[in-house]
Amino acid sequence: MERTPSAGLARSEHGQPSVRLAGVTRRFGPVVALAGADLVLHAGEVHALLGENGAGKSTLLGILGGMLRPDAGTVEIGGAPVVLRSPRDARSRGVGLVHQHFALVPALSVVENLALGQRSGRGGWALPHERVRAEAIAMIRRTGLEVPLDATIEELGVGERQRVEILKALLRDPPILALDEPTAVLTPREVDALFDLLRELVRGGRAVLLVAHKIDEVLRVADRVTVLRQGRTTLSAPRAEIDAPTLIRAMVGRDIQDAAAVGWGSERGARGGAVGEPVASLDKVRVREASGRLRLDDVSLTVCRGEIVGVAGVEGNGQRELALLLAGRIAADEGIVRVPARSGFVPQDRTREGLIADFDLVENVALALHDDARFRRGMLLRWAEIEQRAEEVRARFGVRAPDVRTRAGALSGGNQQRLVVGRELAGSPELVVAENPTRGLDFAATAFVHEELVRLARAEARSAIVLVSTDLDEVLALSDRVLVMTRGSLVPVDEAHRTREGVGALMLGGRDAVA
C-alpha cells in the first residue's frame, strides 16, 4: 500500500490537533493503568497506539470513549478541554469507538445492532432498519467486511462479531475513529481492505486512532505512532522516523525475537525432529449443530506427540467445533473420536469461556485442576497445592497481578490470556488445543506464547499441539503441518501451497466458489 504524505499537510492545514490527552492518570484499586500518558491525534492521520499488555492502551481508549474518567490529566477535543461523562457524551463530540470486547446485543440481529444508537426513524421511536440496512450493504461493498445482516449476534463467531463492531462505528461516520485491536481476528484480505478504508477516511480529514499489536501492520498503515509502556508514553514519532526495532525497544525496553516475526520459512525445516506416537485421532467425524447443519463434515485427523498441527481458516468454517472436539469438550455425531481424557485447551473467547472474572487467580487455575488426582483428596480440593500452582503460573508466565488472590476480572486482557495459557500449559499435558491463543496480545506476550507452545512440543514433554488460528502468519510460522478448514472440511496444505497466498486462497476457496 502506498503511504501518502498527506498527514503532515493535514496537520499544518488544520493546526489544531483533533484530540490531545495530556498527563492522563488512572488507577483501578491497587493497579496503576495510566501514569501520566500523553497522546496527540491530528485530523488526517492514522495514528497507531502500541504497547504491551497492561501498558494502558485500552484504558486510554476507554477514557477517550467516555467509559472511564481519568483520575488526573486533561482531555481536549478540537482544542477545547472536555470532560467526557459517558460514551454518549464522547459520541456526541465525534468520537467513534470500535471495541475489543464486543459491545453487541447477542439476541438481536446484525441489522438491529447496527441500528441501535442510530438516530431514530419515524416519530423518534422506530429503529431505522431499512435505512441502516441500505447503508450497511453499501458499507460492506465498500469495505469488504462481509457479515450476514440477518443473523443474530450469538450465531456469529468472534471474527464476524469484530466485523459487525467495525461496521457499527463506521456507519456513524465519526470525525474521530478509534479502533481497539481490530485486526486480530480478521483475514489478511479483510485487514488490507480495512487499512485501505482507514487511509480513505483520513484523506477525508478524519482522525483515526488504531490500537494495534502487530508491528508490521503498524508500520504499514500508520502516519504516526505512539508507544505506551507501563502507563507512560515512551515514544511518539512520525512513521518516517521509526522502524521495528525502535518500536520494540520502546514497548518492552529490550530486544526480543519472535519465531513468527523471524519468518516462517527460515526455521521450519531445521526444527523438526521425529514425531512420536499418536495422542489424538478423528476418523470420519461429523458434528451437527442443533438445526442439523453440518459443522464438521467427514473430518479425519491424527495428531502425534511432538508435532504442531496448524489449522487455518476463516471464522465460522468449523474450526471451533474441531477445537472443542479435540479438547474433549463436545462429542461427535458420527465417526470415531480418540482424544486424551485430560488436555490443555485455550479457548478463543477468554473472558467468556477461558476464565471467571469474579474468581481470583487460584480459583481460575483450579478450573483446570479440580479433576486431577494430585490436586484433590476425596471430595476436597487441595487448595494449598492449587495455590502453589497458581503462584508458578503467575511467575513463569508473567501474569502481572499483585498476588494470586487478585480477581481475574481486574487483569488486563493480555494478562488474562497469560493466565489462561499458563494454566493450560503448566501441567505439560500430552495434547494442547489452542484457539487464537495470541489474539489481542502484544508483541512480547505473543512471542512468549509461541515460544511456550514450541517448547512444549520440542522439550522432553513432547506434547502434541493443535493450533487453530485465524492469524495466518502464526499458523505458518509455528506449524509442522498446516491444514485449512473450509466449510466444515479439513484440507491438508502441501509444501507448494504453504505460503500466505496459497493458504489464503484455500481458506477463501469454499466461500468464493459459492459467492
Binding site: R27, F28, G29, V31, A33, G54, G56, S58, T59, G62, H101, L324, G328, R329, F345, P347, R352, E353, G354, L355, I356, A357, D358, F359, D360, E363, N364, A366, L367, A368, H370, D371, R376, M379, L380, L381, W383, R405, R407, G409, A410, L411, S412, G413, N415, V420
Partner: protein
Amino acid sequence: MRWRERAAPVGVGAAAVAAAILLSGVLLGLGGYAPLDAGRALLGGAFGSADAFFSITLVRSVPLLLTGLAVALAFRAGVWNIGAEGQLYAGAIAGVWVGLLGAGLPAWVLGPSVLVAAALGGAVWALVPALMRLRLGVGEVITTILMNFLGIHLAAFLVHGPLQEARGVFPQTDQIDPAARLPVLLSGTRLHVGFIVALLLAVGLSLFLRRTRLGFHVRAVGASRDAASVAGRIDARRVTLVAFLGSGALAGLAGGVEVAGVTYALYEGLSPGWGYTAIAVALLARLEPMAVLATGVLFGALESGAGAMQRDAAIPAVWVIAIQALIILAVLALDQLRRRGVGGAASV
C-alpha cells in the same frame, strides 16, 4: 479471599442497616409516629429480655436461617430458586406426616426421621422445576413461584381434609408424637435444637462451597456457566440439579424444623412468607452462608420487634415490612457503590 474482601460485606451490611434505620425514622416521623418510641419498642421486642431474644427472636430466625441458606446455595449456582416458600410447606407436610405415622417409635429414630422426611419433601418439590429447566428449558423463576402456590394450597387442602385433626374443629393436623419433637435447647426458653441444626448447616455449607470439589463446581457454574463447562469441563447440568435439590432440601428442612420445634402441627398459613424473606436474607448476606447467620437473626429480630412495635407503640407491623425493604434497597445501592469504588471491572 483476602480478609479485607471478606470483611467488606459485613461493613456494607452494617452501613445498609444504619442507612435504612435512619430513613425509617424519617418515614415514621412523617407518618406521625414517634420514631424513638418505635425504635425502643422494636429493640425491646427483639433484644429487650432474655425471653424476647431466645424465645422470640432466635426462634423466629431459625426458619429464616434455613431458607436463607437454601436461597444462598441456589443463587450461588445460578439457580434462581424463588420457591423456598413452597419447598418449606412440602417439608412441613412430609415432616408432620412422618411425625404422625411414626408415633410409638423411639425419639432417636423418629426425631431425625421427621427432619429427613422434611428435607426429602423439599427436594421433591424442587425436583419439578429442576427437571422442567433441564429437560424442557423452562425458566425456574416462574416454575418455582408456581410451585409455591401448589405447596401453600396443598397444605391448606390437607389440613381441611385428609390430615385434619381428629376433633375436626380447626383446620390443622393433630399434634405430632412427642418423640418426634425437637428438644428445647435452653431450658426456660422456647429455643429448640433446630437453631443448632441451622448453625451447623451454615458452617457446613460454607465449608462445602469453599473447600470441596462439588462446592467449587457450584460456585464456578454460578459465576460463569460457559467458563465452567469449557475451561473447567464441569457438567453444569449436574451441578444445576444438585443445587436445586440441595436448596429444596434446606428449605424443606425449615418447614420440618418449624413443625417439630415450634408448632408440633401443620396448619394453614404456617409460614408468614419466610421463603420470600429468605431471598432478602440471602442477598443481604451476599450469598455467604456464615453471613446468613447474621442476616437471618437480623430479620428474625425485625419480625419479633414488629410485634412489640405494634403492641407497645401502636405502629402497624407493615412498617417493619417497609423497613425490611429499605434495608434491602440500601444494601443493593451500597454494594454497587463499593464495587465501583474498588474498581471491579478494570480492563487495563
